[in-house]
């Protein structure tokens, strides 16, 4: 008998197939296309060369995020090339009739932060963007994935993409989390288990009681890093947490419309006997606070453990590459990172630039003082996050502790603007990639949660969290 059970992914995919090419890919309809200044100019140029318009402007939203400054956004952009790129986005949006949340617009921010917070991202949708972290939107039970600029042009031209259906993988995480463990630690742990290429060719569904108990902000952190395992995307079935987050979002349906939409959303789950091409099970109790020691996100360890010897680890297959990564970082096999002096921290990005992340950071630095050697980039993911952080008193806490809240953008995650980590310096970063030079030429990135970033910002070095929280109790205010 044919198994008619469907995965969450199958259900959404099927509804978006315009047609199938005999022996070839399927034509997949895209509900929402986010664009930004860096990967769109050549796509718009392609439209102009072909003499065609944007097929569905109403399905397209633009913002400026990747190379914008995070201070003095009201002033003209100083970097000439960045300025041209942002101005080109403006010209293209105006010429082709695409809505743009420009610098200083109240909805501006990192593309993967604003979609969800404005209620543009909804369960059951297909969503693409010329950015590999588009998977973030999958936290709402949507099929969301990153595309290249040729594909951006395809979607602008036709609202469709030619796609072969990917394989599917389910990652089950069950149980209660240990202390100091955040969503970031969960995903860094999973990547360290299945490697930076372990999910290539697959779309991931995350499930299990641990995931069920996460907030939307936390679920987005998890889905965001699906690409760091090679997956095109990652998704989580919508539930009451999702619906409650979506209530009263600016562009989300309201009242009866919301109830009607919700009836459809509640059908979005994987049937109990649905089959996945690969399936993994993880126990939340095994997950400890994580940091990375190498130059890809799969090279992560429990903060209290030592860097594994090549033969004792499972994600890296090539010893030359492994040693090159450690040489670049200035670390040795068998070494502990506890006690390493750190001069830079970055809190922000589409991975950890939401309000929940700033709350974690501010709760720890509250009543404490930034270490003198630390230079910190604390960058809200959007204007709304910035605004809320001010209203909640987070900015005030940060200022008192010696930090500054900057303005929204991708910032030091990829260092296209001035927020760079200098040559040879370590940065404990809440972003998603520790590739060589990612945060500036010669920068050395250690990925971690906002909690570990906060502790590092106070101590100026990597420390044992238990010792920090027990021995360095907060001075009475």
């Amino acid at each position: 008998m044919i198994n008619k059970s469907k995965t969450l992914f199958d259900k959404i995919w099927k509804k978006h197939i315009v047609k199938k090419i005999e022996g070839g890919p399927e034509v997949l309809y895209i509900d929402k296309h986010f664009i930004h200044e860096v990967t769109s100019p050549q796509a718009f140029e392609g439209l102009s060369q072909r003499g065609i318009n944007v097929f569905r402007t109403s399905n397209t939203i633009a913002t400026a995020d990747h190379n914008v400054p995070t201070i003095n956004q009201h002033l003209p952009i100083k970097d000439k090339l960045s300025k041209i790129q942002v101005e080109t986005l403006r010209e293209n949006c105006s010429k082709f009739g695409v809505e743009l949340f420009d610098l200083e617009h109240k909805y501006q921010g990192i593309v993967h932060i604003i979609g969800p917070e404005l209620g543009i991202t909804k369960p059951g949708m297909t969503i693409v963007c010329g950015d590999s972290h588009t998977a973030t939107h999958g936290a709402f039970g949507s099929i969301a994935f990153g595309i290249g600029t040729s594909e951006v042009e395809m979607v602008l031209a036709s609202q469709c993409l030619m796609q072969n259906k990917p394989k599917q993988m389910r990652l089950n995480i069950n149980g209660t989390l240990n202390k100091y463990v955040t969503a970031k630690d969960i995903i860094l742990y999973i990547i360290s288990e299945i490697s930076s290429s372990g999910a290539t060719g697959h779309f991931i569904e995350y499930s299990g009681s641990t995931i069920d108990n996460l907030s939307m902000d936390e679920r987005m952190t998890i889905c965001n890093m699906s690409i760091e395992m090679g997956a095109r995307g990652g998704m989580i079935a919508p539930d009451e947490t999702t619906y409650s987050y979506m209530t009263e979002r600016v562009f989300a349906p309201k009242g009866d419309d919301f109830e009607k939409a919700k009836q459809n959303w509640t059908k979005l789950f994987s049937d109990s006997d649905a089959k996945f091409d690969k399936e993994y099970h993880f126990n939340a109790a095994d997950i400890k606070p994580m940091i990375t020691f190498g130059t890809n996100p799969g090279m992560g360890i429990n903060i209290n453990k030592t860097i594994p010897y090549f033969e004792n680890q499972k994600t890296e297959k090539n010893e030359n590459s492994y040693n090159k990564a450690l040489n670049y970082m200035g670390f040795k096999q068998g070494e502990s990172l506890i006690g390493k002096k750190i001069n830079y921290i970055f809190v922000g990005s589409c991975t950890n630039g939401r309000l929940a992340d700033l709350r974690i950071f501010s709760e720890i630095v509250k009543g404490r003082k930034k270490a003198e050697n630390i230079i910190a980039y604390i960058v809200p993911g959007s204007k709304k996050v910035e605004q809320q952080a001010k209203e909640e008193g987070i900015e005030d806490i940060l200022n008192k502790a010696g930090f500054e809240l900057r303005q929204p953008g991708c910032s030091a995650c990829l260092a296209m603007n001035d927020d760079k980590v200098p040559q040879g310096e370590y940065c404990v970063s809440t972003s998603n990639r520790n590739f060589e030079g990612r945060q500036g030429e010669g920068s050395k990135t250690i990925l971690a949660s906002p909690l570990i970033a906060a502790v590092t910002a106070i101590t100026g070095e990597i420390v044992d969290l238990d010792i920090f929280f027990i021995s360095r109790s907060r001075p009475s205010v």
Binding site: P41, S150, E151, S196, L414, R433
Partner: protein
């Protein structure tokens, strides 16, 4: 799109795994608004020191190796979706990248630009690396129509897998946009019935 049919060339070997698109083209070079001249910054930080002097030990600076084929370790092109990575490799003059495993987005980006991401087995990849390191003038023949890659000197070969539709696109120089534009009416009809967009 430029057609790709057949090629005989030497290889430029770069035996590293997990080469991410930030290494292929660092983010600070993504500020252009056209597709030209990314080749000069291909592997920028591996190729030049901070004074912009070529690093002698990097393969692109080693005149021993040349050719239109880039030979790399597994999981090539992981990370960022930047198509600039494919543009840089193509602009530098490569027409084929051989690896035993490619990241998905990079693979699509390459195919959309007439750059062939050619996936071979781990064994065949190490065989080519060995041959090329032993003799930089090892000629490789890539025959797309027959999905065959061959070390000409020894006749050792492997048939590689490639999506039939993409293969046709490469051979004919036809791209997805040409096709999608031709079915706009069907797309509009589909929209009337409605997807699950809510």
């Amino acid at each position: 799109m430029e057609k790709f049919i057949k090629l005989e060339s030497f290889c430029v070997p770069l035996n590293m795994e997990n080469i991410d698109t930030d290494q292929i083209i660092p983010a600070r070079f993504l500020k252009a608004i056209n597709k030209d001249s990314f080749g000069k910054n291909l592997f920028r930080d591996w190729r030049y020191n901070k004074n912009n002097e070529p690093k002698a030990d990097f393969v692109l600076n080693d005149s021993t190796y040349n050719g239109n084929i880039l030979l790399v370790g597994r999981n090539f092109g992981c990370g960022s979706s930047r198509e600039h990575a494919a543009w840089a490799i193509k602009d530098y003059g490569f027409k084929v990248v051989i690896s035993s495993f490619f990241a998905d987005i990079f693979k699509n980006n390459a195919l959309n630009n007439g750059l062939l991401p050619l996936q071979v087995s781990d064994n065949f990849l190490s065989l080519i690396f060995d041959k090329v390191y032993n003799n930089p003038k090892t000629l490789i023949r890539v025959d797309l129509a027959n999905s065959k890659i061959e070390i000409i000197e020894t006749g050792e070969f492997e048939n590689f897998e490639i999506n039939e539709y993409k293969k046709t696109c490469l051979i004919s120089g036809y791209d997805d946009i040409d096709y999608l534009l031709s079915i706009k009416n069907e797309i509009s009809e589909f929209e009337k019935i409605g997807s699950s967009s809510l």
